[in-house]
Assembly symmetry: C2
């Protein structure tokens, strides 16, 4: 069997065998298959697709291309979550301590942000002292102690995915469902989880613009995940407006802490929903248990313990007077009426311009900057009422990103499916 | 404009612009576009195709990616020929001196063999002293003196094709008509020819197995060639049996010399047909003129002058006692009847096994070995009559490649269209 046979089979619309997909994943991770052959195969996959069996086999091959976290010895159930990414998505910061507070063991690897989608690692790095480079051994030790550990992605887990993902980015083969699904799932499996909750974002502020597209991704994640031996739950949630009231690294950590302290709203509701799915998957409770653990302050206490364990400054829980930007500009409503649109794309791009997001992987971020939203879609507003605040390092001009309509507007629910 | 846009356009089934194709050709030749992006684009072209305009633009972009032979100063017309390659195809060795004997200026770059298809350069290298590394300046000087020069491919002409061809070989994107056509034509244009005669092989012993496939390639070569400013004629010729009576490097040179000396048969007929097309294209004569220049010995004299000019030992014209193999094994007919099949694929593979052809580019050839055929399809044979002789460096076992039928068999004509 050769890589040329694997490329030719996919080129001719035939399915790749498990052995061929292992050859590709192993060859990508050890460098024995050159980039140009991998990228020819990626384009053939983009154009001719892969069935669920192939996607599951590729997932397992990539998961096994490096080390796998061995969580044995830690209390079960072992849980992970994954969001497909959107503007203002700080869910992980609240959900992880909530799940740990409910008695689950949570081990998670998170990424950095690229483009308009923020990354959990960038957000946590805005907290002074927070370590995002735990070794697998440190992860396990910390999870044993407090039920929760999070780190940046390590090249030791699913190295094949790292190579293929890098190539997809420069060969026009990113938007391919089987490759997206196997990339996501392989990292979850290598990370050792048994139960995974997926938050599939849908709307103008993320990759899946329409409900049918999001449904397709959700179905793929669930079905392929199950084939690959995971217990999977997935929600489709709204990303037509930014999630919650902030976009920007320190601003989002501050909002997450407010939610942990009891602030109601869409972030609270989304976190409780996702936690409910995780508890149901594990047979360890339901949404009501999640709500009670959040509202009682158990999750907040777990978050403090988590930040402390990873070296983070826990005074961030006591005041919002940290990582503040020098310029704050208030945007006032130009008219009376109802908020009809908050353009997530525009907000995401503005955060990048402010220095809070990356155009290129090498960009260094300013943790203090971002957009604070005082309204949500559907809110009634008066002329001159503050709609948003722009936190920046210096004065900046920008296009308006909030629209006001004369008649009442019904916002999309946070949980779409 | 970026390479990613060019890849995405082709991926999505849109046409590439002239500017995009120039970007690709220039980026391939100067190394500014990495292999992995070129190969993703090649696979997208393989699966989504290119129209004639794109193929012509790519042809010109590749032709202009390096130097172009400037033939000005040499007597017109300037002629080149190209064969799509087959087992036992020694046409060039006879056709080139014939065209020069007819007063045309012939400048040709030839390749080495790979797989079952032999290469003119390998055949000529079997002649002691024959130089196949003439510089463009030497080519021009020799063509001025004797009307004819041939050399191996130089990296100075159409370097983009060299890069893309190398990638196609290892990414499963060889069998793609627009890429085949632009590869062939770009080298012809960079070589400076105005008139080109194509010999499109058709049958079990070459790439195009059926007449419709060969017709498609011929149409593409003619139409795209004309768009790119060439005057093109093309024949489709039979490759269901090896061409002529030999396959193997020195053996084929010996046969070519016999044809130059007047040996009748399929090689003779094919060469006269192709020469007729070239003369008609140039308005310099027809098939009858070609036949007369061959049969009168003018072409033989030109061949001697050619071999001498390139340093080749001209005693090869006087005797066949050079580059001879130590073992010659005669294959006798197992039955009386009619030759119904001579398996070209099997003959080509046997020549490789004997050491006369390449499995890999780096293989070093034995010029002495090969297969000599004493019969053609349709010949009546007796039991025990010699059918073929295997020339080898040591004893070798092989499967029979000639079939004998009880009833008479009509061979395909050498010229199919």
């Amino acid at each position: 069997m050769s890589i040329l046979e694997a490329i030719s089979a996919k080129r001719d619309g035939r399915a790749n065998t498990d052995a061929q997909l292992c050859l590709i994943a192993d060859g990508a991770s050890d460098g024995s298959i050159p980039d140009y052959q991998l990228s020819a195969w990626l384009m053939a996959v983009f154009l001719n697709g892969m069935d669920d069996r192939e996607t599951a086999d590729l997932t397992m091959a990539m998961a096994e291309s490096g080390e796998r976290m061995a969580l044995d010895g830690l209390p079960k159930p072992w849980v992970d979550k994954h969001s497909t990414g959107g503007v203002g998505d700080k869910t992980t910061l609240v959900l992880l301590p909530l799940l740990a507070a409910c008695g689950l063991t949570v081990i998670k690897m998170s990424g950095r942000g690229l483009g308009i989608t923020g990354g959990t690692i960038d957000k946590l790095e805005s907290v002074p002292g927070f370590r995002i480079d735990l070794s697998p051994e440190e992860m396990k030790e910390q999870a044993r102690e407090i039920g929760l550990a999070l780190t940046g992605q390590t090249p030791r887990l699913a190295p094949a995915d790292k190579v293929l993902y890098g190539l997809r980015d420069v060969t026009g083969t990113v938007a391919c469902l089987p490759l997206i699904i196997s990339s996501i799932l392989s990292k979850k499996i290598a990370g050792g989880a048994e139960h995974v909750v997926f938050d599939v974002k849908c709307g103008s502020g993320c990759f899946m613009k329409t409900l049918p597209e999001a449904e397709e991704l959700r179905t793929g994640l669930v079905e392929v995940g199950q084939k690959a031996g995971l217990k999977v739950r997935a929600a489709i949630t709204d990303m037509d407006q930014p999630l919650g009231h902030t976009a920007g690294n320190a601003l989002e950590v501050k909002e997450a802490i407010r939610v942990l302290k009891g602030e109601p709203g869409r972030v609270h509701d989304l976190v409780v929903h996702l936690a409910g799915l995780a508890l149901e998957s594990c047979g360890a409770g339901d949404k009501a248990d999640a709500a009670s653990a959040l509202d009682s302050g158990l999750a907040l206490a777990k978050a403090r313990a988590w930040f402390k364990a990873q070296g983070g400054d826990t005074t961030v829980f006591d005041s919002e007077d940290w990582q503040t930007a020098p310029c704050i500009r208030i945007i006032e409503s130009p008219a009376a009426g109802y908020v009809s649109k908050i353009d997530s794309q525009a907000v995401g791009k503005l955060v990048i311009r402010l220095g809070g997001g990356r155009k290129q992987k090498s960009d260094v971020l300013d943790p203090t900057v971002g957009v604070e939203l005082h309204v949500e879609i559907g809110d009634k507003v008066e002329v001159g009422q503050p709609l948003a605040a722009i936190h920046s390092s210096s004065k900046i001009e920008f296009e308006p990103f909030i629209q006001i309509a004369e008649s009442p507007v019904e916002p999309a629910p946070i949980i779409l499916a």
